[in-house]
């Protein structure tokens, strides 16, 4: 009984440490916290912490860097149970995500990728998605959603070109875009099915797009 209670308490500490992005604490005390816990309980705890972090980001309780640290802490937590990230996540519908050709700012895209993973999507994140790389990745991974990001307005033509070809060759794949260079109207103008204003709304936007699919 005591052991059970202690394990629950200790997993609670792990959850808090992940939410707070406290990697040092996880490194120092993590092995002790998870010693008597089943692997799945640890993974559930880590996912719960990230769910809280996502909620915190959504409601502006957590800032962007705090969320980034929580992501790092989550990965540190996975090392405790020697689990790759892909196995720890719920493997739901597949999303292909990337910045468009020429775009060098991938911070927002990486946060959206993490948020989508926390929300149960299987996320393929190869980095820069040129038109050809996007089409190849669709063939390989069969995503139901392609998420494209652009911060610089100079990348909008590349985004539009990619969207045109994805729609032409894979009409069943939905396309969501986001980034500082866009708004909902511009997203519609260049042919995207949907638009996410920020990382916090990305999950809702993706779910809305895939509703019924």
């Amino acid at each position: 009984m005591d052991t059970k209670k202690n394990t629950a308490d200790m997993l609670g500490e792990l959850e808090t440490a992940v939410y707070q992005g406290d990697i040092v604490n996880i490194r120092d005390n993590g092995p002790c916290w998870v010693r008597n816990a089943p692997v799945q309980s640890v993974i559930d705890t880590l996912n719960r912490a990230m769910e809280r972090a996502r909620d915190g980001l959504k409601h502006a309780v957590l800032s962007v860097p705090e969320f980034l640290l929580a992501m790092d802490a989550f990965r540190e937590g996975l090392r405790l149970v020697k689990q790759p990230e892909s196995k720890a996540r719920t493997q739901g519908r597949c999303v292909l995500i990337g910045v468009v050709e020429g775009e060098v700012h991938d911070l927002g895209k990486n946060i959206v990728a993490a948020v989508l993973e926390d929300s149960g999507f299987q996320v393929i994140n190869p980095g820069e998605l040129t038109r050809d790389r996007t089409l190849d990745a669709i063939q390989e991974h069969r995503p139901c959603l392609v998420a494209l990001s652009a911060m610089m307005s100079t990348c909008i033509p590349a985004m539009q070109d990619t969207i045109t070809w994805v729609r032409k060759l894979h009409p069943d794949v939905r396309i969501m875009v986001g980034g500082a260079a866009l708004d909902a109207d511009l997203a519609a103008t260049i042919g995207a099915h949907g638009y996410a204003d920020n990382a916090a709304t990305a999950t809702d936007a993706a779910r809305t797009l895939l509703n019924g699919k």
Binding site: S63, V104, S153, T154, A180, N198
Partner: protein, 383 residues
């Protein structure tokens, strides 16, 4: 009042440092301009001056912030624009002459300062210069303290920018205001570390980040002072990280706030006006005003404590607001849609001066210039 510093620029046909003139005299002049605006058209300088001193101009001043987009007029490459003050002046002046507007803000690109600190840059053919993020100057936390100040005289990008300022001040003369530009120390660091790492470092290693900011700020102060000497009457400080896109408000206050203040004070000592530019989401206007005490606030999005433009005018109307026509609208909107949005903003923000119509950030570099003309037209029609 140093009369010499007022008369000399005027004799050269350029704008003197505005704060060299005592405040009561400035107020008097602004009131006189405000009265004149009721009966006759103002010049660009008068219009901007009236707006800056919260008098009603004949119509709101406008600057479409056509910076690198003006390359299209002269067919000048992005790389030449970045690396040559002469070429950059050709571009900015062409934008000013061809499109118009009451002021020119010399937003070249955000890589100028970081490049001179040794950051390797990439110069794409069809886009603005940016750092090679695979090869950052700040590779680890220890590198923050290793960062060394640089000699402004030996800093080629900043020297070319100073040349740009000098040429534009001379060529625009008394027809309009020319504003200088300094990227804040955290912005420069972001170029040398990568945004993701810098954001995390601000929380994990604030002392080290602060140390690097201190090193950079010393150079930026010298750079800002050198811009003042070129004859620009105002300089904008870009504090991008003071927004929800950046770091928490308190962290910004603890790290960049004091350094941004030092830069602002250096500009003010030269009797110039100070602006803040921030194109992040939900900028922290309150703390930026607290630390920098600018006369002008240029934003792309509503501050974190404002829900509407009415809130913005009510809360921050005591400074002159520049903005904030959305840049995506400039890309996809028709001229009529752009003019409609300009009219909406003018109606709310333009009352009793204190407003300059502009995009929230630089006019998108690769789109047609039609919507820049739409903004100029909207200011004349609805302002």
């Amino acid at each position: 009042m140093n009369l010499n510093r007022i008369i000399k620029p005027l004799l050269r046909g350029t704008v003197p440092p505005p704060r060299e003139v005592p405040e009561p005299l400035l107020e008097l002049a602004a009131s006189a301009i405000g009265l004149r605006a009721k009966v006759m058209p103002l010049t660009s300088i008068e219009r901007a001056f009236a707006a800056l001193f919260h008098k009603q101009p004949d119509h709101v001043p406008v600057t479409p912030l056509v910076c690198s987009a003006a390359r299209q007029i002269k067919n000048i490459a992005f790389k030449d624009l970045s690396l040559s003050g002469d070429m950059a002046a050709e571009v900015f002046y062409a934008g000013y002459e061809f499109i118009g507007g009451d002021m020119v803000v010399l937003m070249l690109d955000l890589s100028v300062e970081a490049a001179d600190f040794g950051q390797t840059m990439i110069f794409p053919d069809n886009s603005t210069a940016h750092p090679d993020y695979a090869n950052p100057v700040i590779k680890n936390v220890e590198d923050y303290e290793r960062l060394k100040p640089i000699d402004l005289k030996q800093a080629p990008r900043m020297q070319e920018f100073l040349k740009l300022c000098r040429i534009m001040v001379r060529r625009v003369g008394l027809r309009g205001l020319v504003g200088g530009f300094v990227f804040g120390p955290l912005g420069v660091l972001g170029m040398m570390r990568g945004a993701e790492n810098l954001l995390k470092d601000c929380l994990l290693y604030p002392t080290e980040v602060r140390k690097a900011c201190e090193t950079i700020t010393g150079v930026l102060i010298e750079y800002a002072e050198a811009q003042c000497e070129t004859g620009v009457p105002a300089i904008a400080i870009d504090t991008l990280y003071a927004s929800a896109s950046g770091i928490p408000k308190k962290v910004w206050e603890a790290i960049e706030g004091p350094f941004a203040r030092q830069i602002s004070l250096a500009i003010k000592r030269k009797k110039l006006m100070v602006g803040v530019h921030n194109c992040g989401h939900n900028p922290y206007a309150d703390v930026q005003l607290k630390w920098i005490e600018p006369e002008v606030l240029s934003i792309a999005h509503l501050p974190d404590d404002c829900r509407t433009d009415h809130d913005l005018k009510k809360r921050y109307g005591h400074v002159t607001i520049i903005g904030h026509v959305p840049t995506p609208l400039l890309i996809h909107g028709s001229p009529q849609q752009v003019m409609d949005e300009c009219r909406r903003q003018i109606d709310i923000l333009g009352k009793d001066g204190g407003y300059i119509l502009a995009p929230g950030c630089e006019y998108p570099p690769n789109i047609p210039l039609t919507n820049a003309f739409a903004m100029i037209e909207a200011a004349k029609r609805f302002g």
